[in-house]
Subunit: 382 residues, 2 copies
């Protein structure tokens, strides 16, 4: 089993095999909790309620599947209205991953500075095309980015593109709106700053749990590119929806040679929902419910003997395994003995130690994760 | 109305505004037939039957929308099995349009030879990146490509990439399997040949109506790149599904820096259906039914006074307006007076005359198109 899991992991590169692949290749496994998968399940249910009422019950689903969706600029204009910015500043993507690819391939010409640990596509999409240099966050600092140390690293390495994920993946560390402004003000104006806010809906700076997106600053910083996945916060990874906010000249450059019809019909339906106040009001309730449950989960997880849970403002936490066992072994035991699938970070560059990334799911699933982890790490039964 | 239509057309570039955009911006229009839209409506219904039974009735739709789809290579491996070729020869795209973009951006380094008239993205995605040169098909030849004349043009213009659509868009002209082999054998081996077979399921060489795809020859011709949209033949443009067959080294080069998760959940569901014999058997029935109705439609369309219908092996025909009226005027009258939406070709490069591209829909809709066209082009009522 360990060998077969290792083989599947190899095939999936620096990502995890999907639940579907896992189920197909290891049909004897009973997977009850996918804590590898980082998304808000309550938001998925909200979307499904709208989907059923507006597309299935009315028969409108046929049009969504049969006809071409609108072009990039049409959907971008809708989003711009919702975001309160000019419509030539929004670029729509087939998931954030397409935008990351487009931005790195088109705007990185010389050297990219990637903060570690990170989402591997940020350096993989650049490798062989431009120099890749790293700024490594330390576990001794809880992976917290220090803006001044970061700006010193920029000055030292002289990149033309820098990438920052906030909250960061896979550790969930968060830098404040103020710290991000400090970084943007301190960057040379010709350095493109890619700020990935795919997990920003789970972060908060006070108990109102409001979203503090840097999108509002896009006019002040022409070098800023904000990337936003919809998969995590809205629980709709299968739809593939993402957008970016950047300077109009960059968007014009991308649209000049492509990216014309890159949304599918359901993504367009979702984006239209995302601009509607009735949907957003309900979404904000499930967003806040999920944040509160998630933060409670982390506090309970930290009580399990033999782990250290790093502070997280995302919907996953980085969990260090302190004993003599490896992260891969714990992952396998959780999967085989308890049907709990978590992300081993043994392939993550820049992590010193044995780490799992564990996503928050619903309340009951979170409890199963805690019980399973306590069992796997606990003393052997007599 | 004419001004507003012209403005919408301008906004959509060298494509037509979608039905959704049209309905939103001109809500007073009643559109009864979208003959701008080129897809098999019977195949859409077949897909919807499966979709309802397997995803909606079972509740499996939640997994499709919530979870990440499989990675590119996983879906490619499934398709390769169905196509009977090696799995490292298949590349999956978010619609054929993503593949056209990827292939042109990555493989065209110097000069691209594009056959005219054509689908505009073939030159638009290249413009400003590489030289674009054209090989113009003549209406006096029914837009039929002559393989020897074509090879002479290749020798004369010295491109590194050539593009061929078979059957061609927007005229529906078809070159035989044998002619295509002649071209592939005659091309210098370092010239990449992009052959777009997005409409090949509607073409036939004998009364069995079998599909004659050049994919089978991909091992013999390492410079061949076959592009295939699923939107037209399967009637699922909203899902965005396409694939390409090409040399393994080209696919490895594309996957090295991107295109990791470019399918959505419904596209993956469709691709899995596309590999199932029960689905394919039913599909082949609706494919042949649609071909027969389509060819009948063209014969009836040709009887309308004042038009010339060019021979087509696609699911649309190029219709020349012979009188003193422009294609734009006929398009507007069809839309406003009859709710019939057709594609004006006034923006198509390389067409000398006034042309509409009219898609075949269901039997009843096709009759409405004929009646509407006869009315618009007929003598004014006394």
């Amino acid at each position: 089993m360990a060998d077969r899991l290792a083989k599947m992991k190899d095939d999936a590169g620096s990502h995890s095999p999907s639940l579907l692949t896992l189920r197909e290749q290891l049909p004897e496994l009973e997977i009850s909790v996918d804590a590898c998968f980082i998304s808000n399940p309550y938001a998925t249910q909200l979307f499904l309620d709208y989907f059923k009422e507006e597309l299935l019950d009315t028969g409108a689903i046929r049009d969504v599947l049969e006809f071409y969706p609108s072009q990039n600029q049409v959907i971008a204009a809708l989003l711009a209205g919702h975001l309160g910015i000019a419509e030539d500043r929004v670029f729509v993507g087939n998931g954030a991953i397409e935008i990351i690819q487009a931005v790195i391939h088109n705007f990185a010409k010389r050297r990219i500075l990637v903060t570690l640990p990170t989402f591997s596509s940020y350096y993989e999409f650049a490798e062989g095309r431009v120099d890749v240099v790293f700024h490594t966050l330390r576990k001794g600092d809880d992976f917290k980015l220090d803006p001044h140390e970061y700006l010193a690293k920029v000055a030292e390495t002289d990149p033309d593109v820098v990438t920052l994920i906030n909250p960061n993946n896979p550790d969930g560390s968060y830098f404040s709106y103020e710290d991000l402004q400090t970084i943007l003000r301190g960057l040379p104006p010709d350095v493109t700053a890619i700020v990935d806010e795919s997990f920003i809906h789970f972060a908060f700076e006070d108990l109102n749990l409001d979203i503090r997106s840097i999108i509002a600053e896009c006019e002040e910083f022409p070098n800023l590119v904000v990337v936003k996945s919809m998969s995590k916060d809205f629980g709709i990874a299968g739809i593939r929806a993402g957008y970016a906010v950047m300077h109009p000249e960059r968007i014009a450059a991308l649209l000049r040679n492509g990216f014309l019809w890159n949304s599918n019909g359901l993504a367009e339906y979702f984006f239209r929902l995302y601009c509607r106040s009735d949907f957003l009001e309900r979404y904000d309730i499930v967003r806040k419910q999920y944040i509160l449950e998630t933060q409670l989960f982390y506090r309970q997880l930290a009580k399990v003997a033999g782990v250290k849970v790093y502070p997280s403002m995302a919907n996953f936490a980085l969990v260090e395994i302190l004993g003599d066992v490896t992260a891969d072994e714990v992952m396998q035991h959780l999967l085989v003995r308890h049907g709990v699938y978590v992300r081993t970070c043994s392939d993550k560059v820049g992590l010193d130690g044995e780490f799992l990334r564990i996503a928050s799911r619903g309340l009951r699933e979170n409890q199963r994760i805690i019980d399973a982890l306590a069992d796997v790490l606990g003393p052997l039964p007599q």
